[in-house]
């Protein structure tokens, strides 16, 4: 496997876990709470005793008081299904965004497997979410199968909404993480809305290069779009142009953030110059994406 993860860093991550907003309805035992009642130690509610119920769950204190039999209900612990979608378009090949995306995906995958959750990683090409790793459980399996991420190829177009809507997303059983630069006119909103309708926690990680945040271009330039040859921007780039660009960056990132906020989704802007430590132990903790 490419050295995308620092083992020392992984040890630090053991202390943290990805926060989940809604209680999940997983099929297997995990470390996350489910809305259904189960056999955990955490008291949830009372209900009337019905013939055939487990008599060991009868609350005899209440019977002594009310001379009526009530059953104690406890929360059920369920397993989460984490699905990570990586934008595999050409724009991600610039400024080492692909590398950053893969590292983020691997780190998020580790965070999930260490909490006994299932992890799947997909790469989006055109309108399809191609599986890279599916239903990975446990650290041992993680270490064995994670090298598959090295085979991810970036290039071409990536229509996020189409791909995600088309894929199996699950229902209320975990978190969906989209890692992309979100630099397209394509409506990612549909993808987020869809995922939220499936009661999934959504985390959007916008990965941008330092050169995209603070461009170095000056003078008379024709800037061609890497994903669409017919699209270009022609101008004499001066101080005014650069100032307007900065405002555009702020506008776009704010727009994504506001939309995610309105959909109770998490959003984080990541620069390719940020360290994993800064992202996970600082930004994500501050935003309560990790706890």
């Amino acid at each position: 496997m490419k050295n995308v993860i620092d083992e020392q860093f992984l040890q630090q991550l053991e202390l943290f876990t990805l926060a989940v907003k809604d209680n999940v309805a997983g099929l297997f035992g995990g470390n996350h709470k489910s809305k259904k009642y189960g056999s955990s130690c955490e008291f949830a509610d009372y209900r009337d005793y019905i013939e055939g119920d487990d008599i060991t769950k009868i609350d005899w204190n209440l019977y002594g008081r009310f001379e009526k039999m009530y059953l104690k209900l406890f929360l059920d612990e369920r397993q989460m299904q984490t699905r990570i979608y990586i934008d595999g378009s050409t724009s991600m090949t610039f400024f080492r965004k692909d590398e950053m995306a893969v590292r983020l995906a691997v780190t998020l995958a580790y965070l999930s497997v260490k909490d006994m959750d299932k992890v799947s990683i997909y790469v989006i090409h055109d309108g399809f979410a191609e599986p890279v790793i599916e239903n990975l459980i446990g650290k041992d399996s993680f270490m064995n199968e994670i090298p598959a991420v090295n085979k991810i190829k970036f290039g071409g177009d990536a229509r996020l909404s189409e791909a995600i809507v088309r894929s199996v997303v699950g229902y209320g059983d975990g978190r969906s993480i989209i890692i992309s630069d979100f630099l397209s006119v394509e409506n990612y909103r549909d993808a987020i809305d869809y995922l939220r309708s499936k009661r999934r926690d959504v985390l959007c990680l916008q990965v941008l290069g330092e050169e995209e945040l603070n461009p170095l271009q000056r003078g008379r330039l024709i800037l061609r779009d890497s994903e669409n040859d017919s699209r270009f921007y022609k101008s004499n780039i001066t101080r005014d142009e650069l100032s307007a660009y900065q405002q555009a960056v702020e506008y776009v990132t704010k727009r994504i953030e506001n939309f995610c906020l309105s959909r109770e989704a998490d959003c984080l802007l990541v620069s390719t110059t940020d360290t994993m430590k800064d992202i996970f132990l600082d930004k994500m903790v501050t935003r309560r994406i990790m706890q």
């Binding site: 050409t90 724009s91 991600m92 090949t93 610039f94 400024f95 965004k97 630069d181 630099l183 397209s184 006119v185 290069g209 995209e212 271009q217 000056r218 003078g219 008379r220 330039l221 024709i222 800037l223 061609r224 779009d225 890497s226 994903e227 699209r231 270009f232 921007y233 022609k234 101008s235 001066t238 101080r239 005014d240 142009e241 100032s243 307007a244 660009y245 405002q247 555009a248 960056v249 506008y251 776009v252």
Partner: protein
């Protein structure tokens, strides 16, 4: 307007290059980026462009072009011409020894140069300057120099001398420049006191000042019968007045106030001192007994130094050297020696003599001078010079043939010949040109180039020169007993000159005043003389075919003369000569009474002044350059 360096306008070729760069730079470059999405969005935030912004890059081009134009003009060095505003100035600068007298913390000469520089700097640019140095010789240092810094270089190259000066010649030169239109202004920088009434069309730069100066001169030494060293000399004082009452007084304390202290150094060692009452503007002699601590054989030099601090140090020292260790001339007289002849050699301390008979003579005696007196040898001496006095026969190899001997009834006068050669001058040096009577003479035919000294009816009677073997000869063609020659003053002078000629010492006198020209005798076995002046300059006098060489002492102080000989007996000989400061130049209150009234040419035209506009062009260029940078940084940042 003119330009000093018009070729600098080639720099303007940079403008089309600049335009080409702009054209090429204005081309769009292509670049692929991840997404144009953000750039497209940024359009919405772009402020409305000022239509003038289109011309922003053109503005930069214009400013840069103007900067190049300003640079080209700077390099071309523009000058504006102002007709008839510039002067053409002649500076006559006195370089005499008295200009070394102090003027405050500097000398009069430095002060004069400073004043000249100040005058030149006040003149408008384009003025022309000429310097005429007034010294022993009149010399134009530079003519019509317009570059002030070059003029200052020329001025700095002029140095003061130890010689005297005459202002008449240089002022005549200045007049010549006024007359031919080279100049319209004359400045005279001198320390001689000149009244304004003596000048016309001459601006005086007066660097005279009232200061006190002492000088010492004419120092001599001798030994008395007790072997004690006696030193005499003269002290002079200038720039003050001793009251008559003090001069006539016997009060030692009063006189002490006007006395100078003279310290004596023997062979460089500090010795006694003496107080000399020094009356201004007159000779004040002293005579001091320095005891017998150093014998005459051991004495090398005596130096007298005036210890008072005064306006000029150079004339406060006088040194006398003892060069008597140089070879003594050995004289052999063969035959009947005239008593006056013997008497002369007996009195000359630089010679020693011996008399032998003709029978004893072999020709191998090895003397410096062999004198054949009334005897004609059969062979010439193997070494040294030969004198033939009263020889009536010929000697083989002598270079002359004796004809007949004639008696002159009633006697006849010998006359000095009209020869102008250096040898003749040397042989007749300091003679009084007495009449010499002879009653008998021998006629000779000269086969070699002899120099006649005394003639009778144009016949050479006394002559000198070299024979075919290069040996020096002196011939006196009559018996001394038949003439009154021995009793004349010229007898001693001529014998002295003949002796010096026959066995030449490079020089016999070791004290001169600055400016004196002497003649070095160049012995036959001399290879060269190397003269080192007081300032350290070395001058070489090659022997070649010359027997004499003239030399002028133009510096004050000690000259070292080293003679290199070809024979192994005496390979080198060293002498010290003292050239003393001219006492009249030590006089701080000298006046020049001549009139220097110059006439300016009627239609004398002034030159065209120039105004250097370089500074303004540099400022304008700097403004353009700064504007370009401001525009660039504004654009970029």
């Amino acid at each position: 307007m003119t330009f000093l360096y018009p070729w600098a306008f080639l720099v303007l070729l940079a403008i089309p290059v600049l335009i080409l760069i702009y054209i090429l730079r204005n081309k769009y470059k292509e670049e692929t980026i991840p997404s144009t999405y953000l750039w497209e969005i940024s359009q919405k935030f772009l402020k409305k462009k000022n239509p003038m912004n289109k011309f922003e890059h053109l503005l930069a081009l214009i400013i840069q072009s103007l900067t190049i134009v300003a640079l080209a003009i700077c390099l071309a060095h523009p000058q504006f011409s102002l007709k008839g505003q510039a002067d053409n100035v002649v500076f006559v600068l006195d370089t005499s020894a008295s200009m070394q007298i102090s003027y405050g913390n500097e000398t009069r000469f430095d002060k004069a140069k400073k004043e000249i520089k100040s005058v030149a700097n006040k003149c408008k640019d384009g003025s022309k300057f000429t310097i005429v140095a007034a010294g022993e010789e009149n010399k134009t240092i530079c003519l019509s120099v317009s570059d002030k810094s070059r003029f200052e270089m020329y001025l700095d190259s002029v140095s003061v001398t130890d010689l005297t000066s005459d202002l008449e010649e240089p002022m005549n030169t200045a007049q010549k420049y006024l007359s031919d239109g080279t100049a319209n202004l004359v400045y005279l920088a001198t320390d001689k006191k000149i009244e304004t009434s003596q000048l016309e069309n001459v601006n005086l730069i007066d660097v005279s000042n009232d200061v006190i100066n002492y000088s010492i001169d004419n120092v001599e030494y001798s030994y008395n019968s007790n072997g004690e060293l006696l030193v005499t000399g003269d002290v002079y004082g200038y720039g003050y007045t001793v009251p008559e009452s003090v001069i006539n007084s016997d009060d030692k304390d009063e006189k002490a106030k006007y006395s100078t202290s003279v310290r004596f150094y023997i062979n460089g060692k500090k010795g006694k001192w003496a107080q000399v009452f020094t009356v201004n503007d007159q000779v004040n002699s002293f005579s001091v007994n320095l005891g017998n601590s150093v014998s005459s054989a051991d004495l090398e030099e005596v130096t007298c130094v005036i210890e008072e601090k005064d306006a000029l140090d150079k004339d406060n020292t006088y040194t006398v050297y003892n060069n008597s260790k140089v070879n003594t001339t050995r004289v052999l007289i063969v035959g009947k020696a005239n008593s006056y002849l013997k008497g002369y050699f007996a009195s000359d301390k630089s010679t020693s003599y011996k008399v032998i008979t003709s029978k004893e003579y072999t020709g191998k005696e090895g003397y410096d001078i062999t004198i054949f007196s009334n005897y004609t040898p059969t062979v010439l001496p193997s070494t040294g010079a030969s004198w033939f006095i009263g020889c009536t026969d010929s000697v083989e190899g002598s270079g002359f043939i004796a004809q007949n001997t004639y008696d002159i009834e009633g006697g006849a006068y010998l006359t000095y010949s009209d020869d102008s050669s250096l040898l003749y001058k040397q042989l007749t040096n300091k003679t009084a040109r007495n009449d010499i009577t002879i009653s008998q003479y021998t006629r000779y035919t000269l086969n070699e180039e002899f120099t006649p000294i005394l003639t009778y009816n144009n016949l050479p009677i006394v002559f000198a020169g070299k024979n075919s073997s290069g040996q020096r000869e002196v011939v006196i063609g009559f018996d001394l007993e038949t003439s009154d020659f021995s009793m004349k003053y010229d007898f001693l002078r001529l014998l002295n000159n003949f002796t010096l000629y026959s066995n030449p010492k490079v020089m016999s006198n070791y004290r001169y005043d600055v400016g004196t020209t002497t003649t070095f005798s160049l012995p036959d076995n001399l290879e060269k003389l190397v003269v080192t002046t007081p300032s350290g300059k070395e001058q070489t006098v090659e022997k070649a075919n010359d027997d004499y060489s003239e030399y002028t002492f133009d510096e004050c102080g000690t000259y070292d003369v080293k003679a290199y000989y070809t024979t192994s007996t005496t390979s080198t000989e060293e002498m010290k000569i003292y050239s003393s400061f001219l006492k009249e130049e030590g006089n701080t209150t000298v006046s020049d009474t001549k009139n220097y009234k110059l006439a300016i040419k009627q239609d004398a035209k002034k030159g065209d002044a120039t105004y250097d506009a370089l500074l303004w062009v540099v400022i304008v260029g700097a403004i353009f350059f700064a504007s370009d940078w401001i525009l660039y940084t504004h654009e970029q940042y």
